[in-house]
């Protein structure tokens, strides 16, 4: 830690970050090529559709998560927000509400849940790790309170077909549009606007950011709201994809999202990271799992790959740094 504090002036650190971004994108491309060449059905259009649908929730939630982690905080409640949004959707559908009202309400619910996190973290000043572990349990519990352990299934086929469908006769799934548009918005905000500069500034040093005229509390509050809205949206899309609203939808997804973001080169201490790397991290994680699954490696054994990648993503650059220094 102390060594890191004295060293950011070195140009080497910046290079390292760029290196890691290039490295993770290169690794991702390499994995995609190897998978397409060695796994029979990996390169097919149909599998591409499944791959994108599998990636969808992680890819969406990773966008605001990147910003939250760059400010030095964390949001572990995202998967529970997704689950509560899904349960709420099922509940409203059972109450005969039209789907056109339900979807905005689910996004609004996400915003409220995010605002609760933001309130505890920024207004009360509590550690975000503890707060969002608390709301992880709270929101998931409320999801079960709202919907019980049953499922609601009969959503209108216009919507479910759109989510699972493709653009015209191409193999490109419709939901890819959602991912691309949102990734572009978040990418521009993070890397090309004053808001994005403020996010990095707060992560690098909150006190200094405050002296520079940034209000860290307000910024973080709205980032949590954004995280909630996107998680709510992910809950809606998850529900429509499987045409099943359940309280346990997306359970455990928070760890995969955090893994993908860290794999993408974002520092857990805040202040460092870039969105292209994160997207590569999401694709790497998703395609690796997809390819291994097609090769009949059991789902659970895939955990080993996720875990090793996660540790390696931080350990690798650290070791490389140390070797270079000596």
């Amino acid at each position: 830690m102390s060594a890191e504090l004295t060293e950011p002036t070195r140009v080497g650190r910046l290079n390292n970050l760029a290196n890691w971004n290039v490295a993770i994108i290169a690794i991702t491309v390499l994995v995609l090529i190897i998978a397409a060449a060695s796994v029979d059905s990996f390169g097919t259009g149909q599998n591409f559709g499944f791959l994108v649908l599998d990636l969808l929730p992680i890819a969406l939630v990773a966008l605001p998560m990147t910003m939250v982690i760059v400010t030095g905080e964390i949001d572990l409640s995202v998967a529970s927000t997704l689950g509560l949004s899904s349960a709420f959707m099922g509940y409203l559908w059972n109450a005969n509400q039209p789907i056109e009202t339900i979807i905005p309400l689910c996004l609004l619910l996400g915003a409220v849940l995010g605002a609760v996190n933001g309130f505890f973290v920024t207004v009360l000043g509590l550690p975000s790790l503890a707060v969002t572990i608390g709301t992880l349990a709270l929101y998931r519990g409320l999801a079960f309170v709202v919907l019980g352990d049953g499922a609601v299934a009969d959503f209108p086929s216009v919507y479910t077909d759109w989510v699972t469908g493709t653009i015209g006769s191409t193999p490109i799934p419709n939901v890819l549009i959602v991912i691309v548009v949102l990734a572009a918005i978040f990418g521009v905000i993070l890397h090309a606007t004053p808001i994005g500069r403020a996010v990095f500034a707060v992560g690098a040093g909150e006190q200094a950011a405050r002296f520079a005229g940034i209000r860290p509390g307000r910024l973080k509050f709205w980032l949590y709201v954004a995280s909630g809205v996107i998680s709510g949206l992910a809950g809606v899309l998850w529900t429509l994809r499987y045409s099943s609203a359940r309280a346990d939808n997306g359970a455990g997804l928070e760890l995969a999202v955090v893994a993908a973001v860290l794999l993408g080169g974002v520092s857990i201490f805040g202040g460092k990271g870039a969105l292209p790397g994160v997207i590569a991290g999401v694709v790497l994680l998703g395609s690796l799992q997809n390819a291994l699954r097609l090769s009949d490696v059991s789902n659970e054994a895939l955990n080993v790959v996720t875990g090793v990648l996660l540790i390696a993503s931080v350990l690798g650059p650290n070791l490389a740094n140390r070797l270079r220094r000596t």
Partner: protein
């Protein structure tokens, strides 16, 4: 004269705060039990209390280990997976060697967990990877290894030696063996943390890692040691799990890390390290387990349990924050008075 005046009140107010923190959990626990007993007196019957204590034992052993790690300003999210690996290892060994003594089973479980803990500690300390990342990674890796090994197989109670299963139900002087083991782990850890140099060094590291290093504390060894304790206790908890439930598959203990962290946080161990006791963590485990049982007795929908646990975590850290602000204000006032 002045020296006495200065030290005496400081000590007592600090003591009071610490005691008040655990007092809060005890009062909450007492209220919960009182309300539940009024609605159903059988809640305090022998069997019901026994079940609560047995379930608490496993969670408390994990919480004690977790508290040691959290006090050093780290976190160990891999404990649920380590519990699963240890339970499956010991279960398989017992299946093949029915004569294996229980003590040896406990030691093997602790060793399996200890190895995982040392791996965590080394990666955190010498790999300079944050504990959250390392243990999130090993959460996946250890669980994956268990699945690789176990596949879909399951060890059933009738495949385990009767001697081992009876250990799960045995009592000594009316106290279940599992509870006794948890108490031993709790008391030993509490005494070491409170009265021994090693224990105080862990608190020092949590309060300020840099200051601890400057003060000559071997922070590397201590960090690895804290993770070793957490891992070994998670391993022991795995053996207790096997003895209590008899049925073990690769999913044993999945998701338990969140309950453990919840127990520790509710018990007043600050997530930023340097404060809290294992007593608090164990009380937190007892409170969470009691809530689960009380809901069933009160005929409140079980689905509320998780939501209540979440609310309780928020309440606990909110209350801690309030106390910390009060204490800080008090210290500042006293400081300015003396100055």
């Amino acid at each position: 004269m002045t020296a006495v005046e200065l030290t005496a009140p400081k000590r007592s107010s600090l003591d009071f705060v610490l005691r008040a923190r655990e007092l809060g959990i005890i009062i909450a626990l007492a209220l919960l039990v009182a309300v539940t007993v009024i609605s159903n007196p059988r809640f305090l019957s022998g069997q019901s209390v026994r079940d609560i204590l047995l379930n608490t034992a496993i969670l408390a052993v994990l919480a004690v280990g977790q508290a040691v790690v959290v006090i050093t300003r780290n976190i160990d999210l891999s404990v649920g997976s380590v519990l699963g690996l240890s339970a499956f290892t010991v279960g398989t060994l017992l299946q093949n060697n029915p004569g294996l003594p229980v003590v040896l089973a406990l030691l093997i479980g602790a060793a399996v967990g200890g190895v995982c803990g040392v791996l965590n500690g080394v990666l955190v300390r010498y790999g300079k990877v944050p504990a959250l990342v390392v243990t999130l990674g090993t959460l996946y890796v250890v669980r994956g290894v268990t699945y690789f090994w176990a596949g879909g197989s399951q060890i059933n109670a009738d495949e385990l030696p009767p001697g081992f299963l009876s250990f799960g139900n045995a009592s000594l002087l009316g106290v279940p063996m599992l509870v006794l083991i948890a108490l031993v782990a709790l008391v030993v850890t509490a005494v070491v943390l409170r009265n021994y140099r090693v224990g105080r060094e862990l608190y020092a590291m949590g309060s300020s890692p840099q200051a601890a290093q400057l003060a000559g504390i071997p922070t590397g060894r201590r960090t690895v040691g804290a993770f070793l304790v957490s891992g070994a206790l998670a391993g022991v908890a795995g053996v207790l799990f096997a003895a209590r439930f008899g049925t073990i598959d690769a999913a044993a203990g999945t998701g338990m890390e969140l309950n453990v962290v919840a127990a520790v946080v509710v018990g007043g161990v600050a997530v930023f390290g340097g404060s809290g006791t294992v007593w608090g963590a164990a009380l937190g485990a007892l409170l969470l387990t009691t809530i689960g049982s009380a809901l069933a007795v009160l005929e409140i929908n079980q689905f509320w349990q998780q939501a209540i646990v979440g609310g309780l975590i928020l309440l606990a850290i909110g209350a801690d924050r309030l106390v910390a602000v009060r204490v800080a204000a008090g210290l500042k006032k006293r400081g300015s008075h003396v100055g």
